[in-house]
Symmetry: C2
């Protein structure tokens, strides 16, 4: 694996070179596997409808514009999909694959698999391992790079979703369970300006993580509710939220941030230690905390 130092300019060049090479290879792959007898648009739609699920045409339209009506007619004429009114709202229509549709989709699938195999085939086992590992890495980091972070009201449905997931997960992880009524910070107002703030991370629009910052007038800033959705772990998101919370605190004139955590949250504890936090004596009565940390901001 290449570990040379690169300047930012060289890194941008590497990304562009990668885009060119990969667009060529993957593009060819993609086109060929979708490019049977069926035109691209139809094949893509067939693929998206998927094997088992039934989709509202409404939601498919959001990705394909009005043109899907025609695509659907074409697939319907060939007996690949069945379009039926939604049982509840008969304006909405639903699509699902017929048996013939599933057969044809399976062919696309086999084709895609063959072509993926054809990339691996000329390589020796060691190279295959390296290639797939590097692909996983690229995928992970590209995914990480499209995650956006925004400030959000802690009562927003997406924020509530994250906070609920957070407490649900703690309930499973802590030996003692987790009773939201016993913990400190019962009040979402503490994570809303001017008493604090709340950050939410999104991936393709879906909420995948959050972190809150309490800004009491008479005490150091305090980080609360730092949580990353299980599907979004391994992307370095927690570190990113943490550092954004710190820099927001710094911008607001705070010199110190602190936080508490439970011993069951090992990854979090490691994160704090490797992010410059040092363990300090308990600064609150949080019943679920085992470790208390603080960090002096630069």
């Amino acid at each position: 694996m290449d570990t040379e130092r690169r300047t930012p300019g060289q890194q941008v060049e590497q990304v562009r070179r990668f885009n060119r090479t990969v667009a060529e290879h993957v593009g060819v792959l993609h086109d060929q596997y979708l490019g049977g007898a069926r035109p691209y648009g139809q094949a893509r739609l067939l693929w998206e409808i998927g094997d088992t699920e039934t989709h509202d045409v409404r939601s498919v339209r959001a990705r394909h514009s009005g043109y899907i009506s025609r695509l659907l007619r074409a697939l319907e004429a060939d007996g690949l999909v069945a379009v039926e009114p939604h049982p509840r709202d008969r304006r909405v229509r639903t699509v699902r694959l017929t048996d013939a549709g599933r057969t044809e989709r399976a062919q696309l699938d086999a084709r895609s698999q063959d072509l993926a195999g054809s990339l691996l085939h000329p390589l020796d086992p060691a190279q295959r391992t390296r290639l797939t590992a590097a692909m996983a890495e690229v995928e992970r980091l590209l995914t990480a790079s499209v995650v956006s972070v925004e400030t959000l009201d802690p009562d927003h449905p997406d924020a509530v979703h994250c906070l609920r997931s957070y407490t649900a997960e703690l309930g499973q992880l802590f030996d003692s369970g987790f009773d939201p009524d016993r913990t400190l910070l019962p009040d979402p107002g503490e994570l809303r300006a001017p008493r604090g703030l709340f950050l939410l991370a999104r991936l393709h629009g879906e909420p995948v993580g959050c972190g809150g910052l309490k800004l009491p007038a008479d005490a150091p800033a305090e980080i609360k509710r730092l949580w990353i959705s299980p599907q979004a772990r391994g992307l370095g998101l927690a570190r990113r939220l943490l550092s954004q919370l710190e820099s927001r605190a710094n911008d607001l004139g705070r010199k110190v941030v602190r936080l508490d955590t439970n011993r069951a949250l090992e990854a979090a504890t490691r994160l704090y230690r490797t992010s410059g936090y040092t363990e300090v004596p308990a600064f609150n009565d949080e019943p679920y905390a085992h470790h208390w940390f603080e960090k002096h901001l630069a």
Copy 2:
């Protein structure tokens, strides 16, 4: 970096997942950077013509079919390219960018660069380094996987090209220079059936490496002229050619292959040692050899 063992099926799945993710990201990149006011085909052509060179329309046509005439007219009408007859053969026409064309191409370039930057921007420095390193790895291995190897007559122009490059390179590398007349194997017939064989590696149709196998009736098989073009090094090609030569020898009933090499060729010597070759006493009078190796085939 992920170094878990994967089964072949999991590897194929990883490649397909990669294709999906990357097609999405890179596709968006690609489309957006080419998708200014100008339609895709025109932008692509503008890009391919390049900043400085003058191209024969003939050679561009090979990639774009007859349709380029129209694309060229469109670009010409906008004053982006100049089309002129070739000074030598006035049937052939040449294209080059005008100043306006160079300006517009620079905008495409800037756009592409911005978008590559936007992938890196959300990442922290350690992640950027990891991403670009993984991208380089993927690029390298994907390139390796599209290299094809074929049996070719050693008098074929592409074979001759490789063999010339090989001797030219030895001339530079050896302290003593390299005089093709003094070395053994003056006869290309020795690398042609039934007395031997010759393998050529191609990348996108271009010859990028070769290797010969001598099959004397009264002696072990012997590997000769193993060479990889400088632009194609680091792809594991030499090892691939070597192992193909071995398996060809094996298929022809040979139990032992041997070869000689010069001490200046350190990478080659390392390759032989790590491929199961053991050093043996000189088995010929090759004046340019310092090491003699042999391997018993399984």
